[in-house]
Symmetry: D3
Subunit: 183 residues, 6 copies
């Protein structure tokens, strides 16, 4: 995490302090993505506001969101997101093995056919967005996803294509705690 | 643009109406990304707040931001972003040929050595984020970019990796006006 | 264009002078591919004779030829061919937006189903010629292309895989005029 | 060879008959590329005129031309060109093992450092023409190649990127004789 | 694990029974690779004899062997090997986080410069064996690896390119126990 | 073959000497893979024991094994295996052209539909093992392959993914004799 300076929490704007405090209390430690993003407060606000919208305003189950994050981050080889969201995936899905499966190869994960379709879409949108066609969305509809769910599947995937690259830029490293949570 | 419904502007929340009105007055037409994102107001707010932070709170020149957008979107074969931000790139850089060059092959664009280094970084972060190393950042420093500029170069690139995928998801198409602006 | 010397037009053999004069009168300027190829007269003659055969002896409409050129050159990231033939594509197809669409992502271009099949074939023949099968030709037949048209679709694509590489070798750059023609 | 009709030699224009007769007498059989191209006489003339220019008007040794052809065709997995020009490569280089080495992996071929540089350039121009830079040409100069030789190295490579795709289009198959010649 | 029948342990030849019993006693459960390979006893014997040679007759530390296995299997997206050897990697290296790091992106793993060189070599040998050159071996020598260690680094990597593909063929799945061992 | 020392045959353990003598008598020369592997006797034993199991305990015809080896090695650009097993392929299949076809592009080889399915599977398992699905095995069953044959098709392919990488590691070169055998 040495590529950009990480400010002390007491030196950052109040709204960032509040969010960091809240997250620290919830998790028991400060997830490094909050420390890293504190380097630039305007981006901190924008990033977490977008993230909040994705997880709070969606018909997707939280475990589905986290499954998408882990599979996308696995394709992009993003250590921070695989490990930190792997923890959330295990916890929300109550499935201790799921994150390791999704990060390695979603095709071998123990998931329903519906979730397999969802993950296939996320991986294609990550690897070759230029090849997404109406047929790809049709397969999600056939798997039972509503219109808004399809938008959200794509939106979560798109957001973590941003997030994976921010982690690569800043060389973000997962907190030790994440490796073990939910196992 | 037929994959998700596009609401009438009068049916969307007031803050979205205000933003859409403002953009429409500025451009003389409503850029389709605003219409497309109006499908989901919480995402509309998050997306444009992030975008605003990227272009308003940065030591990068606006033309540099748009150069990054066009080169990134060219790699991802994203028609909406190549054409819409190609227009902005031509206008801000006052360089009618630049966007076509960047969208096709940034290695053949008429840019300074500094901007070539900036674009090389953006293309690498887009194509293989897992391979970004300290050396890549060092090359930006050697080209004269400050720490915050480097963060912002990466952040713009990361954001358009999101944006390109949202355009692919919703099959966003550029307004006709963009093709000709700034030529 | 500085990798190989560009001879003065008065110093090249008469037949090259005649062709260059003719092209200059037609276009109002000398397209740089003629200047670049004048470096080696025997190759100049061979290259343009092949090109002439492709555009003059074919049941394909000229706009179809230029669509193929732009899509192929987009895959190969060839600035000269994208811009110079983009101009021709706009003019022959009377479609100001078409070249930008084809160069960025032919899958999002405003083209008929027949032309989509034609372009899919060209892109596959460019990207992975070793995987072309009878089925690929069958899809062109199903789209209404005659035997000779199929040959010519492939021949134009193959020729611009040559041309794109000659432009890369000699670092050919499009004349300024091409960027704006036909818009 | 069943994708396009192969005309009887007596039914093709006189100049094609003359060339086919000449090649048949030289080789002892009619190489299938002549039969295949006879489907479209204007393309036959253009293709072989270009080929003749490449092999007749060049300071490159003929064995160098054939080495380039085999390495390029190996990258493109083109059976016709690997086998037919593999025969020519063996004969002109008087090196029975060379073609198999170049077609499989030019990095393990028994060639001089100069020829290794030449082949590295050809493989890069084939695989990623958009990445060719001044440095790549400089390496050829450092290896002793003259300006015209560099042009010709690129031109041969470019031409066989055309040729490999025409063979893929028409499903050209090498004559049995080629497999054994020069061994 | 349903693609090939898994025989009951009492139905397999005595030497296989002995090995399976030994492994089961050591681990507390029967690792699925033993069950899967029991389908074909001659291959069972060959596979485990090779594996034994790799881990028993080598100057490499066992933790180094397991690091190589996890990084290689991560590149090949092999769930069985990532999870089963991830457990061994954690145990032998006494490093609970190491396997997750190596499986996701060895470039972000907490390893010494020597081990980074070792893993870079393994990843290159896995992804593009045709590009391995003397320089690659030189980098291992510079990092302090002896001649035999270099052979063994390559041999372990090569063997797991076999193993990953056998797991893909038979759809081998890691035992539940492996996910948690050594954390 | 200069990356690792090649011991004199009289200096290697007796069982290796016996095997080398046997192979030398059979072939009339010592295939270089035996010389190269003699560097490390424990690996020599393991490698050839595995190989023996693959060719001796299988319902596949020996020519089928060698076809798999050549196609796999062609994908991996492995000169040693393409040339040495190309010789075996020609001999066992009594088909002088087959190895050159398989090494270049198995899609253009003169093989039955059954063997085409077999080779398609081998190439996929080599290029993208993570994408092998039940459907891929079903296609082999549909082509008439038994359960054990399918295992063996995969096992041969997997083994030569090891072998190709050992040849890359040690820079193994085929004996001159192999180039001509069976033509």
């Amino acid at each position: 995490m040495g590529r950009f300076p990480v400010p002390d929490v007491e030196d950052v704007p109040d709204d960032l302090q509040d969010r960091i405090t809240e997250e620290t209390e919830r998790a028991g430690f400060t997830p490094n993505v909050f420390s890293a993003y504190a380097y630039k407060p305007s981006h901190f606000r924008a990033f977490f506001a977008y993230y909040d919208a994705l997880v709070e305003d969606t018909p997707l189950a939280r475990e589905e969101v986290e499954m998408l994050v882990v599979a996308t981050s696995g394709v992009n080889d993003c250590l921070y997101c695989v490990v930190a969201h792997g923890a959330l995936c295990r916890i929300y899905a109550e499935a201790p093995k799921l994150a390791d499966q999704l990060a390695t190869n979603h095709r071998q994960a123990d998931v329903s056919a519906e979730h397999r379709a969802m993950l296939d879409f996320a991986v294609k949108l990550t690897e070759s967005p230029e090849r997404i066609t109406d047929d790809d969305l049709e397969q999600l509809r056939d798997a039972g996803f509503s219109e808004e769910e399809i938008w959200d599947v794509g939106a979560v995937t798109a957001f973590f294509n941003l997030s994976n690259r921010m982690a690569a830029l800043a060389d973000m490293r997962p907190n030790d705690e994440f490796y073990e949570m939910g196992r």
